[in-house]
């Protein structure tokens, strides 16, 4: 767990702590936190900032009836929580963050691997928003993915295995943020497949000469 080397920018953790980032990037930050105790501890302290600011506001009187209303709602609560996810899709993995497994198992349509190229599969998951496409990517061992250009922001967390690009090697738990205009070519590690979770804001552009052939497959498709 201590091998995580790539973290979200601190401003992103602050926005996460304050609850100000969109669902899809939040999913990626949360998946990173599962692997990264350093960011979990930073987050706890950031939450202390929020709590201090909250407790210093001038209190506003609440309606007289409010307490009774809360108590009567409490009295009507069902005795136990039975909202467990029952189905398990074989794409889930006990070492993944719980939230990722919930996304996989709770998706309205069961996520399925779809081949993008010889080396790359993608499986979309449902996240109920339409700003980002959230998907799992599987790069096979030694796989070469197309060199691509990012039209919009993309956040990626490595869930299993590792891959590299021109900049670095990314291992389990590492968090990458690609800005519009960034170009990179991820390569799967030789020693096994690599599975990543990513949230992509806008279509990526392939920069290889035959990349246009894959363009239709890469159109953003939030669900």
């Amino acid at each position: 767990m201590s091998t995580v080397n790539h973290h979200p920018e601190s401003s992103m953790l602050v926005d996460f702590s304050a609850g100000n980032i969109a669902t899809a990037p939040s999913i990626c930050v949360s998946a990173h936190l599962h692997f990264c105790s350093q960011c979990r501890n930073e987050l706890l302290r950031l939450d202390q900032v929020g709590s201090n600011l909250m407790s210093e506001v001038e209190p506003t009187e609440v309606g007289e009836h409010l307490f009774d209303s809360v108590m009567s709602q409490i009295d009507q609560l069902p005795k136990s929580d039975t909202a467990e996810v029952s189905s398990t899709c074989n794409m889930a993995d006990s070492r993944y963050p719980l939230l990722v497994n919930k996304l996989i198992n709770g998706s309205e349509s069961v996520p399925k691997w779809r081949r993008l190229s010889r080396w790359l599969d993608v499986a979309q998951v449902t996240t109920g928003q339409n700003e980002y496409e959230v998907a799992l990517h599987k790069i096979c061992a030694g796989g070469k993915t197309p060199r691509h250009n990012h039209g919009g922001q993309e956040f990626t967390v490595v869930l299993k295995g590792s891959f590299s690009d021109e900049q670095a090697v990314y291992k389990e738990g590492d968090f990458l943020s690609c800005q519009p205009g960034d170009v990179h070519q991820p390569l799967g590690a030789q020693n096994g497949e690599c599975i990543c979770l990513s949230a992509l804001a806008a279509p990526i552009k392939l920069s290889s000469p035959f990349g246009f052939l894959m363009q239709p497959w890469l159109r953003i498709n939030p669900m």
Binding site: S17, R45, D47, V57, E61, V62, M71, L99
Partner: protein, 217 residues
Amino acid sequence: MLGFTIKLVDQNEEPSTKTVLLSTEKRSDQWSMLLVSVAETRDRRAFSQLFSHFAPLLKSFAQASRHEGWFPGLSEDLVQEVMIKVWQKSASYNPEKASATTWIYTVARNCRIDMLRRKSNTQHLPLENEDFWHEADEDTPVSLMRQKRSEDKVQSCLARLPKEQDEILRKVYLEGKSHAEASNELGLPLGTVKSRVRLALQKMQILVAPEFRDEVL
């Protein structure tokens, strides 16, 4: 003579600072104890004391929100939702990890996001916002002390932040503006907003310079 005067002032000031610290410590412990007794014995009196203290704060917190789609009419709904969650989830509260105030803040933030998400979602998301959060794992006695120290540090530093840093933190945490939105509103470059926040966090010793991170944690 001058030295003597200074010494006298020091002596006078020290006890009063201590008293203030002691009383805040006691106060926060009181809420934590009440919360624990709600969890353990479903103590309704303790819950009503928590309610009297936190509900008005939560209402102000809700009213401070400037999220898109949020309106003041939702404030008491949020208060109710948070307090019901506090009752329901109190068993998961661990007083060794956070003060009751911090824990209730996280419940409030999560409820606020869930309410906004419920309003704006067109489709189904199989998650609740609390699924996004992990418990911090500093749970050894040494870390517990560190945790308390960091809460105190945050509190005392927040009170002394320069206005421009304080203003942005409030926008981010209370109004719910992202760094990017705050930069738009204040007419400041995004880099400036980020560096003001970063400075504030460094003062509170929340952000450790990356090269020292491993040593400290």
